[in-house]
């Protein structure tokens, strides 16, 4: 395709051909320069940069650690609660027909996954397996056990839905009493809900703290460069131009802190994986350790960079005005 000759253009020499308009080129140059100068300045003061990044990074890692903890407690609760059924004991003397009617009435409910009807005979057989009971049971003339509806609720049922299910079971004709062995699960959910809210608030507060840390670092930086800012303004730099490297510095600090936070969170994750794995083994390996999701690992540095930019933005305009008039 290169062999095809381009039509000859007479008036324009090659030199004046531009791929981008002049002001766009200047704008891009300004950003490239701001990006690199801000990075080099941070690198020129490694200790100060490191401290700022460390404070921010630890502050952001804390909510991540809580998130990790909550997630795993929730998974453990899920795993343990999976086989928790709600039992409805039929009134003594109710026959198989009544039990089946009650069962089919409950099957229609949206909260129910499955229902098994256990006959008095099943119950007796179960009891017989429990050591020490077999002799006692043989001495009985008749089976005293009622029919039992063993209700398996749907997974991830909310506490309200579970309570509604229990209420409707109690109201089902022929049912004597309802035993909800999964009630602890609802309590755990409620506790986890509190924990999740606390984590969100903590993340918010620590996010603000991170923003202030960057803001303060940038403020001090601008103060120490008052002379330079004066010279730049004098030789024709606009305020946005003077400000831009500081905004980029905020972005860099935020990004580095976000990456540090993620690294710390992953370290915590790895440190927790061992003990949680042993715990899982104790529960037939039904609990899998849950790590931080990929979207979170990516969005934390991004969000942190935005925080850094915001922090720098908050202080820079005012500080540069001060430096310019100093």
């Amino acid at each position: 395709m290169n062999t095809v000759r381009e039509p000859r253009r007479t008036p324009e020499p090659d030199k004046t051909r531009r791929t981008t308009p002049r002001h766009v080129g200047a704008w891009r140059e300004h950003h490239f320069w701001s990006m690199s100068i801000s990075w080099r300045r941070l690198a020129a003061r490694p200790l100060g940069t490191l401290l700022t990044v460390a404070v921010m990074g630890v502050a952001l890692a804390l909510p991540l650690a809580f998130y990790l903890l909550l997630g795993n407690v929730e998974r453990m609760g899920d795993a343990l609660g999976r086989n928790q059924t709600i039992s409805a004991f039929m009134k003594p003397g109710q026959g198989a027909g009544m039990a089946e009617t009650a069962a089919s009435a409950l099957r229609g409910r949206p909260e129910v996954e499955a229902i098994t009807v256990r006959t008095p005979k099943d119950g007796l057989a179960e009891l017989a397996e429990v050591q020490g009971f077999s002799g006692a049971l043989q001495s009985l003339d008749e089976n005293p056990l009622p029919y039992v509806l063993s209700v398996q609720p749907k997974a991830h049922l909310s506490a309200d839905d579970a309570a509604r299910l229990v209420d409707s079971m109690k109201a089902t004709p022929g049912v004597d009493m309802v035993q909800d062995t999964g009630a602890w699960r609802q309590r755990l959910d409620a506790i986890l809900g509190v924990g999740a809210r606390a984590t969100t608030l903590l993340a918010l507060l620590l996010g603000i703290a991170a923003l202030l840390v960057v803001g303060n670092t940038i403020r001090v930086d601008i103060q120490s460069r008052a002379e330079e800012i004066g010279v730049l303004l004098l030789i024709g730099a606009s305020r946005p131009f003077v400000r831009r490297p500081y905004l980029y510095a905020g972005i860099w600090l935020g990004l580095l802190a976000g990456i540090l936070a993620v690294v710390l969170a992953v370290v915590i994750e790895l440190a927790m994986a061992g003990p949680v794995g042993r715990l899982a083994a104790a529960y037939d390996g039904s609990v899998q350790f849950g790590g931080l999701p990929a979207w979170l690992l990516v969005s934390v540095p991004v969000a942190s960079a935005v925080l850094g930019w915001l922090g720098a933005r908050l202080v820079s305009a005012r500080q540069i005005r001060r430096a310019a008039t100093a």
Binding site: E228, L234, I235
Partner: protein, 225 residues
């Protein structure tokens, strides 16, 4: 290129720095502003750089009336000017090259073009081999030459200097003034504030004399003796 039309400047506290000053400097012309200290030399240059605004009268730069320039457009005006300061105002934590490069970065010039023009400017002031050094390691005269390179690197139409030789011995001062004359020769309007009458006489350029803020003499180059 530079125009003052009945320009007055009164600072707060009733200090009258300039009173009805009028004169023009054309492209390719070099003029000295002289007078005792406090005569208003610095104020004159500050009005051109828009560091101060006149109380009365009109200052023009490159055909633009500065009275009507909005604060946000001041940077654009300053980019038309090359400024040289007595205390050179270099950034001491950056190399000679980086200092001279600044106006080009502000103008949004690409890095390769920047490098070419910075070296050309440094060569002009005879400091090409110093580009990697920090300004603090240079002598006062060399620092002033770096300041001049920074002032002319973006090829401004107007070059102004406030006591550029104030800290230099006569030999170095003469060299610096020689540099200014070279820029005049290539079409730049040059305005230098100086109180060094010996030096001004040797340069044989136009001289504007201020006394207590009033223009008392405007001597053409041909009449300087």
């Amino acid at each position: 290129m530079i125009g003052f039309d009945l320009v007055s400047k009164r600072y707060e506290g009733d200090h009258q720095a300039l009173t009805d000053v009028s004169f023009q400097v054309d492209a390719g012309e070099m003029a000295f502003v002289t007078g005792h200290s406090g005569a208003g030399k610095s104020t004159l240059l500050k009005l051109l750089a828009m560091i101060e605004r006149p109380t009365n009268g009109v200052v023009t730069l490159d055909g633009q009336k500065l009275n009507t320039v909005r604060p946000s457009d001041i940077p654009r005006v300053r980019r038309k000017l090359g400024m040289v300061f007595q205390d050179h105002r270099l950034l001491l934590d950056r190399s000679v090259f980086a200092n001279v490069e600044l106006p080009l970065i502000i103008a949004g010039v690409t890095p390769t073009e920047r490098a070419r023009r910075v070296r050309a400017a440094l060569e002009k002031v005879g400091l090409l081999s110093y580009e990697k050094q920090l300004p603090g390691t240079l002598s006062t005269g060399e620092q002033q030459r770096v300041g001049i390179a920074r002032a002319i690197v973006a090829k401004p139409a107007v070059l102004i200097a406030d006591e550029p030789t104030g800290n230099l011995d006569p030999q170095l001062a003469m060299e610096i003034m020689g540099l200014f004359a070279e820029f005049q020769a290539v079409g730049t309007a040059v305005l230098v504030a100086s109180h060094d009458l010996m030096l001004i006489k040797r340069m044989k350029k136009r001289v504007v004399v201020l006394d207590h803020g009033k223009l008392v003499a405007d001597v053409p180059a041909t009449e300087v003796v």
